[in-house]
Each structure stands twice: as structure tokens, then as C-alpha cells.
């Protein structure tokens, strides 16, 4: 019984990257929507987007050749460990590369807006700015 429980915990911990994704996603969403400071909103947004990139990278790891039933592969990224060939799907990495560029562009536009807003109103508090609209 105890062993069973321990194995269950190990199983759950084995998905640590997915847990990281969920936790970062929640933190990021909370930051982007609930923080009152506009700068913190942008930070939250960045964390939110990064969580999604983490998910993409996690699903790229398709496992070993044995589990896939493959004998050989022509994928550009694979390396030899002691007993197995690890194979990593390159497509999600390409997507994440594009996604990072897009996220960086969003961050840049957002921060540029924050600078303009601060110059115009002298505050970055959302509540105070709401009265200006």
C-alpha cells in the first residue's frame, strides 16, 4: 500500500515539466489579469507565454525509439545514452522559436505603451488610470 503511494508520487513527479507548465500558466494569467500595476501585467503576460513554450518543448520529447517501435530515424536531433536513442521532434522547437519572437514583439509594444502612459499620466496604477478613460 505504502509502496503503491510512493510510486504514485514518483509518477506524478515524473511529469514535473507539465506541472511547471500548469503552475507558470496560472501565475502568468493571474499576473496579466489581476495585477494593478501595468508593468507587472506585462511580466505576467511574459510568464503566461513562456508557460506555453514550456508545454511545446515538453510535448516535443516523443520518447525512445523502442517505445515508438522505430528502428532508425533521420531526425536532426538525437543523442546516444547508455541504452537508448532519445528522439526529439524538431517541429515544436521551431514553433517556440517563432513564438518567442512574437512574444518579444508583444512585450516591446507593451513596454513602449507603458513609457508613453507614464509620461502622460505620471502613474502606472490601473485603478487611477481607469478614471482617465
Amino acid at each position: 500500500m505504502l509502496l503503491h503511494g510512493v510510486m504514485g508520487v514518483v509518477d506524478i513527479l515524473g511529469y514535473y515539466n507539465y506541472w511547471g507548465f500548469v503552475i507558470l500558466l496560472a501565475i502568468g494569467l493571474y499576473g496579466a489579469l489581476a495585477c494593478e500595476n501595468l508593468f507587472k501585467k506585462m511580466v505576467g503576460l511574459s510568464i503566461f507565454q513562456t508557460a506555453i513554450f514550456l508545454l511545446f518543448i515538453s510535448i516535443a520529447d516523443v520518447g525512445t525509439f523502442e517505445t515508438l517501435g522505430l528502428k532508425s530515424g533521420t531526425a536532426p536531433i538525437f543523442w546516444e545514452e547508455i541504452h537508448e536513442y532519445r528522439y526529439v521532434n524538431p517541429v515544436p522547437h521551431v514553433l517556440v522559436l517563432t513564438g518567442i519572437v512574437v512574444a518579444a514583439a508583444t512585450l516591446a509594444v507593451g513596454l513602449a505603451l507603458i513609457i508613453r502612459i507614464y509620461r502622460e499620466y505620471g502613474t502606472l496604477n490601473e485603478e487611477e488610470l481607469r478614471w482617465e478613460l
Binding site: A32, L33, I59, T98, A105
Partner: protein
């Protein structure tokens, strides 16, 4: 000629992308090149879009492989009849908004920033055209983001309060688009493909998968945020109110429709109706959210005192119409496809005239419009025609949509949506009639100059078209027939 047609989908996107960089380069020598370049580029795109629409035979599609890579691996641009139809809508309203933009931009934007305005403008157009032609889920994300980033900057160009409106839009828009990316990640995890056609085929085997169901929920939330479906609409009224007039016109007509089209495409071309037959609850929830949006948008519009914000809330209600139509079977597809064009026609005229009142008189509030019906008869007539059409008097554009929704509700036996539609029509009668009454029956003003021709005629043409849309649709109904057949809804 046949060879050129195959390249048109990618050219329709590339032309405005190139145009936008050309505007930056020419700005080193002259500030005057932005407008003529934008006008000619959007006109060329419109011609290309019409050429594509004319050359797609029923059921067929133009497929373009970027870089020559075969579709499931490479990126595919795939234009079927629905894509071509949306591309025509996007390019048509981009062109009209560009015509309209000239005078308002001269007045509202700093002279030294005007070239950059047109740079971003063409970038926005290219992003929207890209969404219409692409056959790849991730590529669609990139194009949506190109269009959105250009929009944030364009809205902020009005300065002052537009900065806050733009920032709010940026946060919610970026969260929405990230949800779209999340949906793509889940769909990719389940199917291992990003090509829409390929995903459609692979999904048929795994409709039961939780991952697939969740991916649709993420897609829906993301796109609902982008197209300002009720409860996610909070950014939209302020963004429409404070942005430069020309930007309001283009984002309320073309950009809003592009986001709705993305959901349209996902529901009918990727997940397909079969998926939703297995999971009726998803469609039920969608219909309830959309109906709530129709009613809530109309009620909020009644309570609003600013003209542009009132029109923005009316857009919230109309996005509800489009999303509700998705859930109503075959006739619902007729309604949704027709409303993509109908709503653009009406909102173009309304926002063009609303922007015109700001341009000429600086009037933003509804109760300040007194007597303008006599003072500026042609501009007010354009507004009144579109307003009557929004209410849904035959044979106007609004009537066509409502007729299709009526047929859809009868066909699927869900009569509650007829009640929703009638309630919303009555509410829109209240808020549009209030504006018409103030325009024509209250106060008195001396006759004054009409809007400049470049602002007046686009608005008038859209106003007349939105009144006559019922007759025009009667003769061009076969486009809708072909869309329904191409999507395989029957």
C-alpha cells in the same frame, strides 16, 4: 494565366507586406507617399481577391506550397470558397477604409508620424489577408499576431486616452492569442500536425480524446477574447472610442470579421460538425454565451451616451449573432457567412459617419447630434440607412441575417433563439431610433458643408448597399450555397 492564379494567395499577402516596408523607405525622402502607396496596394489586393473568388470552382481550392514543401510538413496556403469570400471582405473594407483614412489621418496624426501610420496600416492589412488564405494553424497564429501588434500601435497613435485603451487591448488580446497558441499545442500533442486539412482527417479517429476537446475550448476562449464576444468584450468599447477614426473603421469591419472567420474555419473545417454532434454540450454552451452576448451588448448600447461606444456595444451583440449562427446547423452557416459581409457593410457606414462628425465638429456624444440631419443631409442619410439596416427592416442587410437565423431556428427546432433575436431587434430599434430621432427631429442647425468627398462617398455607398443588401443577396446566394457545400455541413 492559370499559373498566375496559383500564386495569387501568397501575392495577396506579400503585396501589402512589401508595401509597408516601401512606405518606411520612402519616408526618408517624402512624407506624402504613404497614402497613395496604401491606396494602390489595397486596390491591387482587392483585384487579386476578386480574381481568386472568380476562379474557384465549387468545392475546389487553390493550394500553394510555401517553398515547395509538401503540405503536412510544409506550410500550405489554401484558399477555398469561404477563404476567398473572406479575403474579398477583408480587402474591400481595407480599401474603403484607406480611401476614408486620408483626411482623418491628416487631421488626427502628427505629420512626421503619418508615414509610420501607413506602414502599420499595411502591416495590419497583410496580417488580415494572411489569416484568410492560410491553411496552417500555427501560421494563422502568426498572422493574427501581426495584425494585432499593428492594431495596438495604430490605436495608440491617437495619443492620450488611446494609450490606455490600447494597453488594455494589448493585455487581453495577447492573453487571447496565447490561448489560441495553447489550443494549437494541445491539438498538436493529439494529432502531430499543424495543417488544417491533415488535422481534420486525423481528428476523425480521436474525437473522444480529452486533449482534443480541451484544445477546442482553448481556441474558443482565445478567439472570443480577440473578437470581443461578451464577457470578453471589456477592451473593445474603449479601443473603438479612442482610436483614430480610420482605425476604428478598419478594425470594426475587417479585423473583427477575420477573428470570427478563424473560429468559423476551426469549427467547420478542422473539428467539423461531427465532433460537435458527439459533444452537444460544447455547442449548447457556445449558443448560451452568444445569446447572452446578443442581449447584453444591446442593453449596454442603450445605456451608452457616446456614439462610437454605442456602435461598439452593437458590435458586441453582432459578434454574438455570428457565433450563435455557428451552432445552428446548415442555415446557421448561411447566416454566419452572410453576416460577415452584412455587418461589415453596416458598421463601415456607421463608423465612417461617426468619425466624420468628430472630424467636422468634434462631436462624440449622441445628444450633441441635434439638428445634424438637416445640416449635413447626405452624411446623416448614410448613417440613417445603415441604422435602419441594423434594426432589420426588409430588404436590408440586417434583415437577411435575421431571416437566415429564423430559418435556422425553425430548422433545428430551437425556438428560444427566435425570441433572443426578436428581443435584440427591439433593443436595437431603441438605441438606433434614439440617434435617428436626435439627428432629424430635435434642435436646429444652419446648413453646413458635407464631409469631404473621400469620407462621404465610401459611407454613402456602404449605406445604400446595406439597405439594398437583401436584393443583392437574392442574386448572389450561390456563393453561400457553395460555402455550405464546401464545408460539408449539409
Amino acid at each position: 494565366m492559370g499559373a498566375l492564379i496559383e500564386h495569387l494567395p501568397v501575392l495577396a499577402v506579400a503585396v501589402s507586406l512589401l508595401g509597408s516596408f516601401t512606405v518606411v523607405l520612402t519616408s526618408l525622402y517624402t512624407r506624402k507617399a504613404g497614402y497613395p502607396l496604401s491606396l494602390s496596394v489595397t486596390f491591387i489586393q482587392l483585384v487579386m481577391a476578386v480574381a481568386i473568388l472568380m476562379n474557384i470552382n465549387s468545392g475546389g481550392a487553390i493550394s500553394y506550397w510555401l517553398g515547395g514543401w509538401r503540405p503536412p510538413w510544409g506550410i500550405e496556403y489554401r484558399v477555398d470558397i469561404l477563404g476567398a469570400y473572406v479575403l474579398v471582405i477583408v480587402t474591400l473594407f481595407s480599401f474603403l477604409a484607406t480611401v476614408y483614412a486620408r483626411k482623418t489621418v491628416e487631421k488626427e496624426i502628427d505629420p512626421e508620424k503619418q508615414p509610420y501610420f501607413y506602414t502599420l496600416w499595411l502591416l495590419l492589412v497583410s496580417g488580415m489577408a494572411g489569416v484568410a488564405v492560410t491553411g496552417d494553424l500555427f501560421n494563422l497564429f502568426v498572422f493574427l499576431e501581426i495584425a494585432s501588434l499593428a492594431t495596438y500601435a495604430l490605436i495608440a497613435m491617437a495619443g492620450k486616452r488611446a494609450l490606455i485603451a490600447s494597453f488594455n487591448y494589448l493585455v487581453l488580446g495577447a492573453v487571447g492569442i496565447s490561448f489560441y497558441l495553447l489550443g494549437t499545442a494541445f491539438l498538436y500533442a493529439a494529432t502531430g500536425t499543424l495543417n488544417m486539412l491533415d488535422a481534420r482527417a486525423l481528428l476523425t479517429l480521436i474525437y473522444d480524446s480529452r486533449i482534443v476537446q480541451l484544445s477546442f475550448v482553448f481556441y474558443f476562449i482565445g478567439l472570443a477574447m480577440k473578437m470581443a464576444l461578451f464577457p470578453f468584450h471589456v477592451w473593445q468599447p474603449n479601443a473603438y472610442e479612442h482610436s483614430p477614426s480610420a482605425v476604428t473603421v478598419i478594425i470594426s469591419t475587417a479585423l473583427a470579421k477575420v477573428n470570427a472567420y478563424a473560429l468559423f474555419r476551426l469549427i467547420f473545417s478542422v473539428y467539423t460538425v461531427k465532433f460537435f454532434q458527439n459533444y452537444g454540450t460544447i455547442f449548447e454552451l457556445t449558443a448560451i454565451v452568444a445569446s447572452a452576448g446578443i442581449i447584453a451588448g444591446s442593453v449596454l448600447a442603450i445605456m451608452e451616451r457616446s456614439l462610437k461606444k454605442m456602435l461598439a456595444y452593437s458590435s458586441v451583440a453582432n459578434v454574438g449573432y455570428i457565433v450563435l449562427s455557428f451552432t445552428l446547423g446548415k442555415w446557421g452557416v448561411y447566416a454566419a457567412a452572410a453576416h460577415l459581409l452584412n455587418h461589415s457593410l453596416m458598421k463601415a457606414a456607421l463608423f465612417m459617419v461617426a468619425g466624420g462628425f468628430i472630424y467636422r465638429l468634434g462631436i462624440r456624444r449622441i445628444d450633441e447630434l441635434e439638428g445634424l440631419g438637416r445640416a449635413m443631409p447626405l452624411s446623416s442619410a448614410a448613417f440613417a440607412m445603415a441604422a435602419v439596416s441594423m434594426i432589420g427592416i426588409p430588404p436590408s442587410a440586417g434583415f437577411v441575417t435575421k431571416l437566415f437565423i429564423l430559418l435556422a431556428s425553425l430548422d433545428t427546432g430551437r425556438f428560444v433563439f427566435i425570441a433572443v433575436m426578436i428581443a435584440s431587434s427591439l433593443l436595437s430599434l431603441v438605441y438606433f431610433w434614439r440617434v435617428i430621432e436626435i439627428l432629424y427631429m430635435k434642435g436646429h442647425r444652419e446648413r453646413m458643408d458635407e464631409l469631404p468627398a473621400s469620407m462621404l462617398y465610401p459611407a454613402l455607398i456602404m449605406g445604400v448597399l446595406s439597405i439594398l443588401a437583401g436584393i443583392l443577396w437574392f442574386f448572389s446566394i450561390d456563393i453561400l450555397d457553395e460555402i455550405v457545400i464546401a464545408l460539408g455541413v449539409v
